[in-house]
Amino acid sequence: MIDATVVELSRMQFALTALYHFLFVPLTLGMTVMLAAMETVYFITGKPIYKEMTQFWGKLFGINFAIGVATGLTMEFEFGTNWSMYSHFVGDVFGTPLAIEGLMAFFLESTFVGLMFFGWDRLSRPAHLAVTYLVALGSNLSALWILIANGFMQDPVGALFDPDTMRMEFTSFSDLVFSEDAQAKFVHTSIAGFVCAAMFMMGISAYYLLTRRHREFAARSFRMAALVGVIASLAVITLGDALGRADYLLQAPKIAAMEGIWDTTKPPYEPWKLIALPNDAAQRDLFSFGLPYVLTPLVTHTFDKPIPGILELESDAKPRIVRGIQAVLALHAYATTRDPVALAVFRQNESDMGYGLLAQRFAPDQDLAKITAAELPTILDLTARETIPNVFVEFWSFRIMVALGFAFLAVFAFGAYYSLRNRLERHPFLLKLTMWSIPLPILATEFGWITAENGRQPWTVFGWLPTFQSASSHALGYMLFSLIGFALLYSSFIAAELYLMFKFARLGPEGRAAHAPPQPGPTLAGAPGYADKPWQ
């Protein structure tokens, strides 16, 4: 028997560790690209202030990177310890991108991080620039492979279930790498990281401008971050739409929950709900207010295609659950007898096997063979409702993310405008707003992650393996102990990160080798172009 409490605790533990880890990841992804941009300017102009900027922001990146790695390492082990059924079921497919991430991308990133920090006086200027670009590439390649693995959980392509080994096995590596979901999610997530880094740099630079310290340094950092922020915000909104489109085609329940669609829509009038209070138990909204004629083109990119509602999706799921039950029973029979007839029945219903596994939770003694004809309608109803993710959580996490995304675009646009006109210091409200906005993009990415992963429920592998069937069979005490332990440990990591970030951000760039005389060297602008104006 699977203990539902242990499964819930396993979910809580993974959600906790993933959300903690994801506090660090976006900043790492974006900061490396910002460092590459700054060092590019140093390479082009030879002005030492850009070297100083790269070094100072690099130090803050280093703090974030070190603690981010510490929180990420445990997660890879968690798949084996807490999700052993999942690891067995899809390890062949899921383990491959994880291994590539560790062996290629993470090693690339980690190796060159060392060279980036300690190679300033040991490498030539072009070599150091190349190293910084490799760090940026490595960190984003890490994200790529993780999101390819996650893409498989959302849209399991490139693999088939083998009834002899009882697990999914590769059919096409390229299908996995180029899956629609993985592509859209990687680009959306990576660029969201750029937004986080841009706001982080803008906010700290705004603090310096407000306190009138390191003004030359802050003005340049602010300018570069604001420009990155404007483009990245526009891109992240556009790419979010692309990801939504992929979800519409691949994960109808996620889209229905995200938009709070209970009944199938009637295009083109159907309003896009700005705010609503979805009630999961009653399967209706307690209140809603929306913009008419927006939902259909937004989701379907047409004016006439209806979007299936939750009630219709539940109804459509019932025949699949019946076929799924037949598939699981046939699989059990084949596993014990190797009967070719059982295999033929399984093959006939194979694509719905996941729905049978989902129904197992509601079967007497979690045994599908014990379901009687009288019990079947109730089990079908319960299982069909189970196929829909939590609508309230999905609806609001999506809206908070979207609202924050548009707010960032406005902040970046005003910041870039006033920076380009050199009028930033005349707008202290904007500077204060930017400073206080530092944590908001990170918060938005957390809500984005909740939207993606809550929307995938009740599956770990969409349509194939229910979350309920994926966990290890640990004791309750073990799960509670490890959950509390992780919460305390990761909270201490956050405290350490905040302490170090505040400490070094307040200290600012002064006190480093900054004030050392510039080293002669070739520049694209002609040597020695940096010496034309001291920056501080």
């Binding site: 941009a37 590019t40 790498v177 592509q183 990687f186 680009v187 300018r223 420009l227």
Partner: protein
Amino acid sequence: MKTLIKFLGLAGVLFLALLLAVVAGDYGPWYFAWLVGTTMIILIAAAGAVLMETQTSSGRRDEEF
């Protein structure tokens, strides 16, 4: 000889870039968009900084940011 090696090296990089663009463009349009977009973001940020240097040196700023 050094120039030839440099030329061949850069030609190799160009070939790889074109190959990557063709493969990514055909099979992974969003990956291709990321490569192009990220490069553009870096270049625009760099251009903004270079513009600030021009503004600074032309004296239009009057010590204000």
